[in-house]
Symmetry: C2
Subunit: 192 residues, 2 copies
DNA sequence: TTCTGTCAATTGAATGTTCATTCGGTTGCA
DNA sequence: TGCAACCGAATGAACATTCAATTGACAGAA
């Protein structure tokens, strides 16, 4: 039964991701979400109290998926510099292959929904996410230059996100060798 | 008369920027835009054929302002490396001081509006903007490593945008010294 | 096994609200 | 007098949400 529930929810999530990617939050009325997910409008309200709740739950759902794909267990024990590169490449490759997820997250972060999430201090602390910790760890273990984490985060993720954006805009995936070039630049810039 | 027209338009633009920043495209109905701009709803339609047109014109308007503030005449003749740093810092400082503009552009780029703009090949070419050219120039003049412009763009602008985002989220401006650190890292990473 | 009561899951038409857009009329300037 | 700028109530479409009705699964009684 609980599995059923999850499946239906995921069906709705997937439909929403697809629509938001294609037409923004604008172009995603409940009626379309329902049709795409092959459920009745009313059913969505069986799972989510409101559209806003649906969106916010979808955010947490995406976040979980992303983290799962970025921090791979088999890479947990690599030396820091190799892990630094691996995680970074995971980010780019995952987003490149999951356009709708990327597009949703981008829009979400720019929307007032996210404002609400950040306001909640407790969640905010949970929210300081794995990448943040990963960089802090690099600082503590003296792998990274002694910079403010904020700066490290910008230097690490900023280029990745820009790259994914340009890849999606131009509908051309980025060559692996180019990824290596860029992550090398970043690593050389922030390594101790 | 033409000046009048521009003034009214700007009033509407400013109002829209403010609302979009506060509540996203969602939370910006024409009625609110009108009230905030202190004009009647109908008047907006005197200047713009539709809400979509308003948004798209606003995009071009923002783009112009941004370019004006990023490429300062008095810095045009600096040696490339200094100009590289100056332009980059202009980006961060300008966006930091113009939250609503930044927020609008971010949301616009993630929206289907921008898709339409990119589709139009002619505009697309105009669109390849000044920063793009600036980096190409750096390549031609052998100041920069021989990387794909796409990679350079990601390495240059990505961190800037990330930084601004975090600055706006945390409502804390970034210290000038931190900016210098970051732009140094970038420059060292891409310089020949 | 068959029947029955229960409740969650599901449906989509109906409701009320919000919104973009229109338009008939007013103002003010040339 | 004419015309552009301006107004905001009126219109109709799109939308989120509700709800009364239907289905389906299943536990326990016969």
């Amino acid at each position: 039964m609980n599995i059923q529930l999850t499946e239906k929810k995921e069906q709705i999530f997937r439909s929403t991701l697809q629509l938001v990617n294609a037409g923004g939050f604008h172009g995603s009325p409940m009626s379309k979400i329902a049709k795409e997910a092959e459920v009745a409008v009313g059913s969505i309200y069986h799972y989510f109290p409101s559209k806003d709740d649906l969106i916010i739950e979808l955010y947490w759902y995406c976040k979980e998926i992303i983290n799962k794909h970025i921090f791979l267990e088999e890479q947990d024990n690599l030396p820091y510099d190799q892990r630094f590169r691996a995680v970074w490449k995971n980010v780019v490759l995952f987003y490149q292959d999951h356009e709708d997820l990327f597009s949703f997250m981008e829009q979400f972060y720019g929307s007032p929904f996210y404002e609400d999430i950040r306001k909640n201090v407790f969640q905010h602390k949970c929210e300081r996410n794995k990448i943040f910790h990963f960089l802090e760890q690099g600082l503590e273990e003296k792998h990274l230059k002694d910079l403010h984490v904020r700066i490290l985060l910008a230097a690490y993720l900023g280029p990745a996100i820009s790259l994914v954006r340009s890849s999606l805009y131009e509908k051309t995936k980025i060559e692996e060798s180019q990824l290596d070039q860029l992550v090398d630049i970043i690593w050389n810039g922030v390594k101790k």
